[in-house]
């Protein structure tokens, strides 16, 4: 592969220099968030109003406008930031735009009522870099979110994009790349936590050709949007990671499996692929290296179980998404029976920074067994919900109270739910635990792919378990009877309990059934579906007992069990 290797001293580097030379860092720049949520809050209209105001005030030529991906502070949108100062405005409406141009952009004056208010202190904050929500994070994967335009590959190039690819293709052999990833200790970000380098090696050395790689972007977990956040803010980093991975594994074809419920993400990634092809970063003879690789998009059609890798493979093949027994694992027998590596969006996106900075840099972040950072969608009952990137090992309490700002309305927080319908609730008494794969598993939950829903005392844990089981019951593909029938039975018992028909022995029955479903199911969906029940029984048994014995719902949520003096307010 290395012969006649004249790539790159280097194409990408020269391109970057040219781009940077043409840029004037002191030129005023306005960024507007164009992520799914901000667009839902009419950030498109805000962008148009800013353009119009610039035109009217004769500043169109001197100010650069940029629409960026999601910076993660979703409930404060639409977000507008004015550079070079980094003045940060929240909840911007089109009618404020003329003022923003005439006062802030022209004269550097601050418009008080648009500033972000620290939910902990009530202090108004001017600069984006001083916002505690951002200050407390370690943003590596999300480093460029809010700064670059996801529709422009040039923006990614300008911040160092595809440098890792160039390095991988010119200076490293596939074996060296795999060794580096293994040494970094990177574990799969989809929630399983399997060592990525080991997976790649198994796939590379597995007999059979061709080999395939797949990006799992089927973010079907309710309450999660971190993969959406990563792609919306920087789709090119995902592509770069996949190209490096394909080179290391020996694949020439890759797939991105993405849920159709994210139309904006699909549009952004399609555009990124086109631009990568136009610039010889995908396709034949990438950067003159002799390596060929291309990526296709496969849309998911609304089946949660397709997040499971064997079901996902079946779906790409055009069949119904029923999981298969493993082994054989996809690394030996995957797509069309060929060796296939499936990684989550964030796992792929981690590859470029690791190749750029080396495994030693990566191992310094995080804990002994869980390296790097992780991204959570922090939502539910917190003052400041949003997309948060923290090093592994940060305590839950720090994440929830310091970054999330704690309880929004004075009610006591009682649990953090991670891992969605596959995970469990971690009670407040255990929030001294560090966020990493193993601590969360020991606490009866899982890391999952990054959803974290904070719950306060107004939430009934039995009803929550019922909700998750309802979800799993609906999403079960029906192949294994333990999952198909067992989850349904568990749901029915929970439903009875929440309606006041609980009986002595129900808790024990749920525990027994839960174990049976776990053992008797082929795939992750069934194996983990009982977790929300088992973990809430473990930590909130008294709530179950109150429902069953006293026909009383302590949180006042279950309608049939609410006494008049406990009418709930929201």
């Amino acid at each position: 592969m290395a012969e006649g290797n004249t790539i790159a001293e280097s194409d990408v580097e020269r391109w970057r220099e040219k781009l940077l030379a043409a840029r004037d860092a002191s030129r005023p720049r306005i960024t507007v968030c164009g992520g799914t949520v901000c667009l839902a809050l009419a950030s498109g209209e805000v962008g148009a109003a800013l353009e119009q105001a610039l035109e009217q005030q004769g500043m169109h030529a001197s100010v650069e406008m940029k629409t960026t991906g999601c910076p993660g502070l979703c409930d404060q949108g639409p977000l507008v930031t004015i550079y070079p100062q980094g003045i940060f405005y929240t909840k911007v409406k089109p009618e404020y735009c003329s003022e923003i141009i005439s006062q802030t952009v022209k004269n550097g004056e601050i418009i008080e009522h648009l500033l972000y208010e620290d939910p902990l202190t009530g202090e108004k904050i001017i600069h984006i870099t001083d916002v505690p929500f951002y200050k407390e994070q370690t943003r590596i994967l999300l480093k460029d979110s809010g700064l670059i335009d996801p529709y422009k590959i040039e923006d990614y190039i300008a911040v160092g994009g595809f440098r890792a690819l160039e390095k991988a293709l010119t200076e490293m052999t596939p074996e060296q790349i795999i060794a580096e990833i293994k040494r970094s200790g990177l574990r799969g970000r989809g929630g399983g936590g399997f060592p990525t380098g080991v997976k790649w090696e198994l796939c590379r050395t597995a007999p059979g050709d061709p080999k395939y790689i797949i990006c799992n972007a089927d973010e079907g977990n309710p309450g999660c949007f971190q993969d959406r956040g990563v792609i919306e803010s920087n789709p090119h980093s995902l592509l770069e990671g996949m190209i490096i991975g394909a080179y290391a594994i020996g694949a020439n074809e890759g797939f991105i499996y993405i849920r159709h419920e994210y139309p904006l993400v699909v549009k952004i990634i399609r555009q990124a692929i086109l631009q990568a092809r136009e610039n010889n970063l995908l396709g034949e003879n990438i950067l003159g290296s002799g390596f060929n690789f291309d990526i296709e998009i496969q849309l998911g059609a609304g089946a949660y179980v397709c997040g499971e890798e064997t079901a996902l493979i079946a779906s790409i093949e055009g069949r119904i998404g029923e999981p298969q027994a493993r082994p054989p694992y996809p690394v030996t027998k995957g797509l069309w029976g060929k060796p296939t590596t499936i990684n989550n969006v964030k796992t792929w996106a981690w590859i470029p920074p690791i190749i750029n900075n080396g495994a030693d840099w990566f191992t310094q972040i995080g804990t002994e067994k869980s390296k790097g950072t992780t991204i959570f969608s922090l939502v539910g009952k917190v003052k400041q919900p949003g997309l948060v990137e923290i090093p592994m090992g940060v305590t839950l309490r720090h994440l929830i109270e310091r970054i999330g700002g704690g309880a929004p309305n004075g009610k006591k927080l009682i649990a953090a739910q991670t891992g969605g319908p596959s995970g469990g609730c971690i009670p407040e008494s255990l929030w001294h635990l560090p966020v990493d794969y193993d601590s969360l598993r020991e606490a009866g939950s899982i890391m999952g792919s990054g959803g974290m829903i904070i719950m306060d005392e107004s939430i009934c844990m039995v009803e929550m378990a019922r909700y998750f089981l309802d979800f799993s019951k609906f999403e079960s593909c029906g192949k294994c009877s333990a999952c198909r029938e067992g989850v349904r039975r568990m749901y029915e018992i929970l439903d009875y309990i929440t309606r006041g028909f609980g009986q002595e022995g129900d808790i024990e029955l749920l525990e027994e059934l839960g174990q049976a479903v776990k053992i008797g199911s082929l795939c992750g969906l069934g194996q983990t579906a009982p977790n929300p029940v088992l973990s809430t029984i473990r930590y909130f048994r008294e709530q179950y007992e109150a429902h069953i014995r006293d026909k009383h719902c302590p949180a006042g949520v279950c309608k049939d069990l609410v006494s008049l003096d406990a009418v709930k307010e929201n």
């Binding site: 949520v37 949007f225 959406r228 159709h260 419920e261 994210y262 059609a301 609304g302 119904i320 739910q417």
Partner: protein
Amino acid sequence: MEIDISKVDAIIDKHSLEHRWLITNLLAIQDEFQYLPQDAIRHVAERMNIPILQVYQVAEFYKVFKLEPPGKHLVSVCRGTACHVRGSEALIERMGDLLKIAPSRTTKDKQFTLDVVNCLGCCALGRVIVIDDHFYVNVTPNEVESILDKYVSNGD
């Protein structure tokens, strides 16, 4: 309903006739007709040489596919976890009461189809309702009626 079968052919002809394109083709057909008309399904089965039973199996398995024509407006109420803990159940109930239909059904006058969806990724702003691609966020049950009113056509 009569459909223009040449549109189905145009969709199929974009790719090879391999089985792997089945879901892609069905998605494109649904984009074209807003649902999967029987004739289109039969045509796909014939042209791709896949037993019609298998095509129906796929169409039934994946929740995005609709086998009946939907109403003029598509109402999606999110019941993802973040929306749920903020009380989306009450929204779903209110929407069902107002439209007088259960989730996944279409009103008699073919104006509205009600979908309850798992997560739209707007968790920080739950409770979320989407009507014809327009997002309504932080919706309270009391607001549901006035939101719906915007879509009730005059004279109905």
